[in-house]
């Protein structure tokens, strides 16, 4: 922890920061500091620069004074990552909240990091376009945080992750140097793709000051469907059938019975049996394409021995899709002490991993709620049984077992503990799972961008 921690940033430093960003934009009240806490650790000041130039100056000052800086915007995902080893300045990018360039005819966009995703999507909707970022905390999450945490969207199934539609970035390195890579055009191999490194880097490489995206046209018609199965094998078998068909849905998500209760608690609840494994699908395109998808999906569901196949009504579909989008948030609201894993796993290993995770949490006398993006991401939440207070020790034990299950070579999954109480993070031996074989290369990257370790120290894999 910093020599300056607990609001003891020396007065001279505050004065200098006020000179850089203006006195109105440096905050040290208890309330302001608490709003930027990371794993219970408070910064000594919250700084709100107006743009890249001020950010660069703040970072140069921080480097000179050996202060550590953690960026945030909406502040919804400051809990992700290892507890910071030091946290002096919270760098709030909320004032960088402009759409800098939007060329709907070219389907490209340049935005500042503090723009809220909900606001941005509203701008795009006016032009019948969107970004495939149906991410949690949508009312508060900002672009910078979404990119820096590589926030996961169910639309990944059809559109890929941030790396697949991010065209370029501007950012400030740990030494306070303004840099960029990529560009604004949809196809570009000019120079190294440094911006890809910043996606999911949790603020450890640079402070993002502009992100360029390609946008996508809203398709004319949509349909949402639910097929229910009596087992994980049935549900994932159906997903495999879809993947091997010519039908190309936008979203294919599998919920286990616990997650299903959460998703269908309103509206459509009556129609979904609580013990079943639903597969939720959204298909979009020309009306004829949606009709055809509905027919073929229904046929495949039948062939996969679905118990039911229904099309969600126009009113209930958005509600269900919103709950899928907000899955981690719904869990955290229901059980703040939950541990939520984000796991990269191959489609063929999903059913087996699901079974393993259910069995081990059952043995630990806990509940598991899991949702899978059929293309290869599993969200698994461990919760206390209703009315049963979960102890930190038992949760820690379960967390370790989940990591072990993922590391099993037959499963070959890559797990990260995205959300959990701070005390679990260290007790469970970290949130990043087994060290990657290429950890040495990640260290080299970190050293290139932030040689003095100013940015988000200790938050990333392996203590980066």
């Amino acid at each position: 922890m910093s020599q300056f921690a607990h609001n003891s940033l020396v007065q001279n430093s505050i004065i200098r920061l006020e000179e850089i960003v203006g006195a109105a934009h440096v905050h040290t009240s208890a309330e302001d500091l608490a709003s930027r806490q990371a794993d219970g650790i408070l910064p000594s000041a919250v700084v709100q620069p107006a743009g890249a130039v001020e950010i660069a100056e703040v970072l140069r000052f921080a480097a000179a004074e050996k202060l550590s800086v953690i960026p945030s915007g909406g502040g919804t995902k400051l809990g992700i990552g290892s507890p910071p080893s030091r946290y002096d300045l919270a760098l709030d990018v909320s004032r960088l909240n402009h759409v800098l360039a939007y060329d709907p005819q070219d389907l490209t966009l340049g935005v500042e990091p503090g723009v809220r995703i909900e606001d941005l999507l509203r701008v795009l909707t006016e032009k019948k376009q969107f970004l495939p970022l149906a991410v949690p905390f949508a009312d508060r999450a900002t672009i910078g945080g979404i990119v820096a945490t590589n926030s996961s969207s169910p639309l990944r199934h059809a559109y890929g992750g941030v790396r697949d539609f991010c065209l370029g970035m501007e950012f400030v390195t740990g030494e306070g140097i303004q840099a960029k890579s990529g560009g604004r055009v949809v196809k570009n191999v000019t120079g190294y793709d440094l911006h890809k490194l910043l996606i999911g880097s949790l603020g450890t490489l640079g402070i993002i000051t502009r992100v360029n995206f390609r946008t996508f046209p809203v398709l004319p018609a949509q349909g949402a469907f639910v097929a229910t199965f009596s087992s994980a094998e049935g549900a994932f078998g159906f997903c495999a059938a879809i993947a091997h068909s010519v039908i190309a849905p936008q979203i294919v998500e599998v919920a286990d019975p616990g997650a299903a209760r959460l998703l269908f608690s309103a509206g459509a609840a009556a129609r979904i049996e609580p013990r079943t494994w639903p597969v939720i699908i959204s298909a979009a395109g020309q009306p004829a394409v949606v009709d055809r998808s509905a027919r073929e999906l229904g046929y495949m569901a039948g062939a996969s021995e679905a118990e039911e196949f229904i099309q969600l009504g126009e009113a209930e579909a958005p509600a269900v899709l919103t709950r899928i989008r907000e899955f981690p948030r719904l869990i955290l609201e229901a059980a703040p002490s939950a541990a939520i894993f984000r796991i990269g796993v191959l489609p063929t290993a999903m059913a087996g991993l699901m079974r393993e995770l259910h069995s081990l949490t059952h043995k630990c006398n806990m509940d598991l709620l899991a949702m899978a993006r059929a293309s290869g991401i599993l969200y698994a939440a461990i919760l206390p049984k209703e009315g049963d207070p979960m102890t930190a020790a038992s949760l820690t034990g379960a967390v370790k077992q989940v990591f072990d299950a993922c590391n099993n070579p037959e499963i070959g999954a890559s797990a990260m503990l995205e959300w959990c109480p701070p005390e679990i993070k260290s007790a469970a031996g970290g949130v990043w799972g087994a060290p990657r074989k290429d950890f040495g290369l990640m260290q080299r990257v970190k050293k290139s961008f932030d040689p003095n370790g100013v940015l988000s120290p200790g938050r990333f894999a392996g203590g980066i």
Partner: protein
């Protein structure tokens, strides 16, 4: 080259895997670009372990080295600019695994792009990146250059299809990055390595995604009396939010050369054609094709025709993919560019290229990926004419400057290599370049791996490099 190094390489790899006679080396002096460089030795490893040993030997003897696939690159990426060793991956050409259920394949770098698609064709799958050289270019080369192709408009470029790689670092260490999973926690090193033009590591194994073939495909040919009408159609297709699988433009001059070469039925009396492909479910293809035909007609297309069958479709694509070769038949040399512009700037950019063509009195053919704004102007020239050569360099630079001025990029898929590295400062600030340079040094500290590529050397600032002849008299930027 140190004879002891040659002996060590022969001991390591066997004499049939080492070339060092001048007549053998000559074959590796060039690639698909207009660049040249003389290697001192060529080696053909069989495994990552051998590659690692080669790298260690190169370090011991302080010799530069670089990787090479089929040598089809268009920016000099696989040319030995500073002499040294070339590691040719043609013997590491096995498809190691096809994982149909998870839509993945694991391949060695020397596997030819089209061979992978052919190997999975019976499963209804293919490897999506389809550079025009796909019959010969290797997947290792695709990874180094982050190659594209006509169909990347809808399906993305190489980086969107790579989930894991094994690399040999410049110190000889063998490291695996990523794997089959779509997501691994930690920095996206795949994203850094893919497209790094062989300057950070040698790639020895690649895990790629396989893509399911569409149910239906329709290929349309729209014929125009003016280039403006053709570019206007592309503009309208983009604006109407239709995403074809491919949208290619060929100008009238190029078409004549192509038609004489492949006899695909292209008109020889028009200003331009668009070759547009839509794919997907039958229903989607019908709807999109109808809408595209409507757009083309509104933009005064003289004729819009749909390929009747696979044979006609294949013929049209043969015309497009062999267009460079067709122009090569009518000119001693051509210089192909790869600039990218925002798609909405297409009409003005084509007018600008025509002006530049007139200004420098040079014939420029235009063949390009119109749908994503990736231009391939081909400037024809005769390398024996030194005065003309200076004009080629000036015209090329002026086209590039226009692309940058309208918010574009220097290269969409061919790479920077040793051809455009001195132009990097048109796009990037000294700070941007310093960071890229620092990242390179983090992996390639001695600069021994593929020296003189991607980043500017600062010797000829703001100039395209076409090195067959002495440097031209004029500096254009």
């Amino acid at each position: 080259m140190n004879p002891q190094l040659i002996r060590d390489l022969v001991t390591l790899l066997g004499s049939n895997a080492v070339l060092h006679q001048p007549e053998d080396l000559m074959l590796y002096e060039y690639d698909g670009s207009v660049e040249l460089g003389s290697p001192k030795c060529i080696v053909f490893p069989n495994s990552a372990r051998e590659v690692s040993e080669i790298v260690r030997l190169a370090n011991r003897y302080e010799v530069p080295l670089l990787g090479r696939g089929a040598g089809t690159g268009l920016s000099g990426g696989a040319i030995a600019r500073d002499g040294g060793l070339i590691v040719v991956f043609s013997r590491m050409n096995r498809i190691l695994e096809i994982d149909e259920a998870n839509l993945r394949a694991v391949v060695q770098p020397g596997v030819v792009n089209l061979d992978l698609s052919r190997a999975v064709e019976h499963l209804g799958l293919y490897f999506a990146p389809d550079p025009s050289s796909q019959k010969s270019c290797t997947i290792g080369g695709n990874v180094s250059e982050n190659s594209g192709g006509p169909h990347t408009l809808a399906n993305g470029v190489t980086t969107n299809h790579v989930t894991g790689i094994e690399v040999v670092l410049p110190d000889g260490e063998i490291v695996r990055v990523g794997g089959k999973n779509i997501e691994t926690s930690g920095y996206d090193l795949n994203g850094l390595f893919v497209g790094s033009e062989g300057t950070l590591a040698l790639v020895t194994e690649i895990t790629v995604r396989l893509t399911r073939k569409a149910e239906a495909v329709k290929t349309l040919l729209a014929v125009y009396e003016t280039i403006d009408d053709a570019t206007g159609s592309v503009f309208d297709i983009t604006v109407r939010a239709i995403t074809p699988a491919a949208c290619e433009m060929l100008d009238g001059f190029t078409l004549c050369a192509v038609e004489d070469y492949v006899h695909a039925g292209f008109p020889k009396d028009c200003a331009a054609v668009l070759l547009i492909e839509v794919e997907g479910l039958t229903e989607a293809v019908e709807a999109q094709a109808t809408e595209i035909m409507d757009v083309c007609r509104k933009n005064h297309a003289r004729e819009v025709r749909v390929a009747r069958d696979d044979r006609e479709r294949a013929l049209l694509w043969k015309g497009r993919k062999e267009a460079f070769g067709a122009l090569g038949r009518i000119s001693p040399m051509y210089y192909v560019q790869d600039g990218v512009i925002p798609r909405t700037r297409l009409p003005e950019t084509l007018r600008r290229i025509a002006e530049i063509s007139r200004k420098y009195d040079l014939q420029i053919g235009n063949i390009f990926h119109a749908g994503d704004g990736n231009l391939h102007p081909l400037i024809l020239f005769d390398e024996r004419n030194r005065e003309q050569f200076a004009r080629v360099v000036a015209a090329g630079t002026e086209i590039m400057e226009h692309c940058v001025a309208v918010g574009g990029a220097l290269t969409g898929e061919h790479g920077i290599g040793m051809e455009k590295n001195e132009l990097m400062s048109l796009i990037f600030s000294p700070d941007d370049l310093a960071l890229m340079s620092r990242v390179r040094a983090a992996f390639n500290p001695a600069g021994r791996l593929n020296p003189g590529k991607v980043l500017p050397l600062g010797k000829a600032c703001g100039e395209i490099r076409i090195p067959h002849l002495p440097a031209p008299a004029t500096t254009t930027a």
